[in-house]
């Protein structure tokens, strides 16, 4: 006669919403001693609809587009089951705008502004998978090519046009800079990855 070993109560539930892709939730413990089946119960559309996601021996599950749209408030409850029984997590609530993660922006041009010293204009493409309904906050990091020290500046953009620009001023004249950019929805705690680095040189001091 063996001792019943229930699965651990799923805890530390963490969810990320990849805009127009999926809502992925993870929890702990990552591993259980025995085979464990998870059922993640979700309500969405402000509680008016519900569905489930199942995974086996993996502490992660995803709900997929198009049944994941923002803005929305979802509830997530994880049920762990093995041959000895079922254990439920506590109910968690998620505002998708606070956990949305976007693709990184794509810098495609860094050039000096004619006649304006110690400044470069950066042009980038707004990520296609970034919420139309959110203001985006940006962090621009830059350093001179031969320095290891990054400087950064933060700004926001409400405009949803694909091509966006920023004038970076206060630079050294006739100096090559390395720049990289990241963004996030204004209310979200998840930043995108950094964009690919781009270089640009300020105009010669006359």
């Amino acid at each position: 006669f063996g001792l019943a070993v229930l699965p651990h109560k799923p805890e530390n539930i963490s969810c990320i919403f990849y805009y127009r892709c999926n809502l992925t939730c993870t929890w702990s413990p990552e591993k259980e001693a025995n085979d464990t089946w998870y059922t993640v119960k979700r309500t969405y559309l402000y509680g008016s609809e519900n569905d489930t996601c199942k995974s086996e021996n993996r502490a992660s599950c995803s709900f997929f587009y198009p049944n994941v749209t923002n803005p929305d408030i979802c509830t997530i409850e994880v049920e762990a089951q093995n041959t000895d029984g079922i254990v439920k997590s506590s109910m968690t609530q998620w505002n998708l705008d606070n956990i949305v993660k976007t693709e990184p922006p794509e810098i495609y041009c860094v050039k000096p502004a004619l006649g304006v010293k110690r400044m470069v204009q950066i042009k980038w493409r707004r990520p296609r998978l970034a919420p139309i309904s959110s203001v985006l906050k940006y962090t621009l990091q830059f350093r001179t090519v031969n320095s290891a020290k990054w400087l950064e500046v933060n700004f926001t953009r409400e405009d949803i046009s694909i091509i966006q620009t920023y004038d970076l001023t206060g630079l050294q004249a006739f100096t090559e800079y390395v720049l990289t950019l990241r963004c996030a929805a204004e209310e979200s705690r998840f930043w995108s990855e950094w964009s690919q680095e781009k270089t640009g040189t300020t105009e010669e001091q006359a």
């Binding site: 559309l45 519900n50 198009p66 609530q93 705008d97 919420p131 309904s133």
Partner: protein
């Protein structure tokens, strides 16, 4: 489902966000449909009711009418992803106490295509109107 948390309807700010998302989606779906159905004329016979607003505060926006149209034309549109996304967003703006609206789609195939095109065109116009900045928040034409 063992859920006990009561989730409130989207507030005014979220309603505006939903409409912004719908505006983009409406353009996307219209463009996809026009690309897939070249040379279709728009019809003047059909009219899609735009979003309505509850008379009494907080003037919640109500999408029941448009939602009924989209649930009917869904099976006539190939791009189910964007269509379901729109239906999902419209469901968020649906007020609970409206009864189901009956929408009849023309059975004749050419008429049906024109009907779908017209609904998508009018939906896109409706979203543009609702999103116009100068309009005071929550007040619809």
């Amino acid at each position: 489902f063992s859920h006990t948390l009561r989730i409130p309807r989207p507030d005014a700010k979220d309603q505006q966000k939903i409409i912004k998302e719908l505006q983009q989606l409406s353009k996307e779906l219209l463009e996809l449909y026009q690309k897939s159905e070249k040379g279709l004329p728009e019809s003047t016979k059909y009219t899609l009711p735009c979003l309505t607003s509850d008379p009494h505060p907080p003037n919640n926006i109500n999408s029941s009418a448009i939602l009924a149209y989209f649930q009917e034309i869904r099976r006539h549109i190939d791009n189910k992803g964007v269509t379901d996304e729109i239906i999902g967003q419209l469901k968020k703006l649906k007020s609970q106490d409206t009864w189901k609206i009956k929408v009849s789609v023309p059975t004749e195939s050419f008429e049906c295509k024109c009907f779908v095109l017209t609904i998508l065109q009018q939906f896109s116009k409706c979203m543009d109107q609702v999103n116009e900045p100068q309009r005071p928040k929550g007040q619809l034409r």
